[in-house]
């Protein structure tokens, strides 16, 4: 469904993405990982249609991205960005309702039902009349998630509709700042969406969350696709060491179905004060 070939992106002379190739199928929950500055967010935003000056090709269901009108794009993919600054005191209900923009000219009862459903699913329905500006960071994030969900859904029900090949969800660090309960809820929600055929592509930093939820992991480094594959193949100490520069052990525990990534003691990353002193003089 999503095909990326030889994708490069320049900002001025700086090459941010370097001949990235990747394929993702409908119903897959894909996770993008990589060190800071590897181009994860940029890749996600390019797929979201923000940078139309990319080289190479991005195809959605066989159509080149920049040939698809903005409104049609919005009806087949929803995006949850990293930083959202909203200065006007819209209510929670109004903010979530903005997700339906691509569908309505007049607000219908279906739109309302979907927004209500999404707010309930993210457990923020009881805040629906509060001003968005008075919410905590984590609550705001859940409202934004509800907005994005409203944009994706076609019925006020997660299970009823088959979205295979029609919907894509892009999430840029969706759970940063959420408590552990809502992290799990959000990613379980993403899993359920992928079971309905939605292609989910999420940037995550947490190995444990990635190991628990990803069906496929794309590892980026310095603008290139470093490696890809399922959890067992990608989350190995060798790949993590060469991609992130950190010594880790990948542990398997009988109570846990996915591998656990444990870092070595933090001190090992930096030279000891004595070594530093020698380097200076």
């Amino acid at each position: 469904m999503l095909g990326i070939k030889e994708l490069s992106l320049f900002f001025g002379a700086a090459r941010i993405l370097d001949r990235v190739q990747l394929q993702a199928r409908p119903g897959e929950l894909c996770v993008l990982m990589g060190p800071n500055g590897a181009g994860k967010s940029t890749l996600l935003r390019t797929i979201a249609g923000e940078y139309i000056h990319y080289r190479g090709s991005i195809t959605l269901n066989g159509r080149e991205l920049h040939q698809i009108p903005v409104a049609a794009q919005a009806r087949q993919r929803a995006v949850l960005g990293q930083q959202l600054v909203l200065q006007m005191p819209f209510t929670v209900m109004e903010v979530a309702g903005m997700g339906r923009y691509a569908y309505y000219t007049r607000e219908t009862s279906l739109d309302k039902a979907i927004v209500t459903y999404a707010l309930q699913l993210l457990q923020v329905y009881d805040l629906k009349d509060r001003s968005y500006l008075t919410l905590s960071g984590g609550q705001q994030q859940r409202v934004q998630m509800a907005r994005v969900l409203s944009q994706l859904l076609e019925a006020p029900d997660l299970d009823g509709v088959d979205y295979t090949g029609r919907k894509m969800l892009l999430l840029d660090e969706p759970v940063t700042g959420m408590d552990i309960l809502h992290q799990q809820l959000s990613l379980q929600l993403a899993t359920r969406l992928s079971q309905q055929g939605v292609l989910v592509l999420a940037v995550l930093h947490d190995f444990q969350l990635a190991a628990a939820y990803a069906q496929r992991i794309f590892l980026l480094k310095e603008g290139r696709l470093f490696t890809q594959g399922d959890v067992a193949n990608v989350l190995t100490s060798a790949y993590i060491k060469s991609c992130f520069g950190v010594e880790v052990s990948v542990l398997h525990h009988p109570d846990c179905v996915y591998p656990l990534v444990a870092t070595s003691p933090a001190g090992a990353l930096f030279p000891s004060p004595a070594d530093k002193a020698i380097n200076v003089y």
Binding site: R45, A48, G49, E50, I52, H53, V70, A71, Q73, A74, R75, R77, A78, V79, G81, L84, V85, L86, Q87, M88, P89, F90, T91, E94, V95, M98, G99, Y101, A102, Y104, D129, R130, S131, L133, T134, Q151
Partner: protein, 361 residues
Amino acid sequence: MKQQARPAAYLTITAFTRLGSISILSILLLLVIIIATGTGAMHISPAQVVAILLERAGIRLPVAYPEHMVAVLWMIRLPRVILAVLIGAGLGISGAALQGLFRNPLADPALIGVSAGASLTAVVLIVLQPWLHFAGGNMWQSYLQNIITFAGAMITVWTVFRMSVYGNRAVISIMLLCGIAINALCGAFTGLMTFIADNEQLRNITFWTLGSLGGASWQTVLAVLPFVGLPVLLLPGMAPALNVFALGEQEAMHSGVKVNKLKTQLIIYATMAVAAGVAVAGIISFIGLVVPHITRQFTGPDHRVLIPCSALAGALLLTVADLICRTIIAPAELPVGIITAITGTPFFIWLILKDKRVIAV
């Protein structure tokens, strides 16, 4: 802690439905129009005003009025009140639209150079008048003057807009900075023109800079009408997109808003509405800033309500301000720009101080 103490202030007033607030403001505006039309050197009672107006429409009311009253109302009062309504509506609606575009409740039409460009053009016209001879007499000349002033404002805004384009899209923060620069440049040239001007021109310039509706006639009303009418008709249709735009440009694009088209249209309509007013009546400050702000306190930030209500409230406020200006020191007249600035500036300062906590964070 403070947030907990006064949550009510942050709740939007949902009881004011869209139609409710629009009809309340419309009724208020109608009342103010009737009162303002009746007030002046010759007093005309509200009943007489209604009777005279309806008589034109063929409906006779049993109210007596002398014949010369009809002439005063029809030729002097009504054009002026209508002009105030039009210019006020234009300022209010473009303020609301631009605050939505800049995603900032403190934005003002003056920021992107509308007022500065219009002022400079008008002042240049005043100074160059002895050398310019427009064909077709006085009326044609005043028409042409309005159109040129409007064109001047358009050119400034277009320059600011073009300067802020980077990689196929207008960057709003750069647009604000360019607006400041262009404002300063236009201010400098306006100063230069003032320096060259002779005594009589200087009086003209001063009067114009202070803003006044004294030049109202049916011709000026007709000259302004399309420039205000078009935005008033078209901007409410862009309200849902503007709501989504509040999330941010990229988010609006992700949600299906054609961002570039929206920005271009908004800027053109807002400039139209403001520049036509500036061309006819000079600089009337703070209406574009204050009106959407007050309106938002009652309607909440939803542009579907805010935009039509800002137009109505702007019309209301300028009509009242103009009424005060022409009656407070009668038979002389105070420039209306002075009243709006004197009342608007403290309000603006209060807004900033009130939101200091939010702004500083």
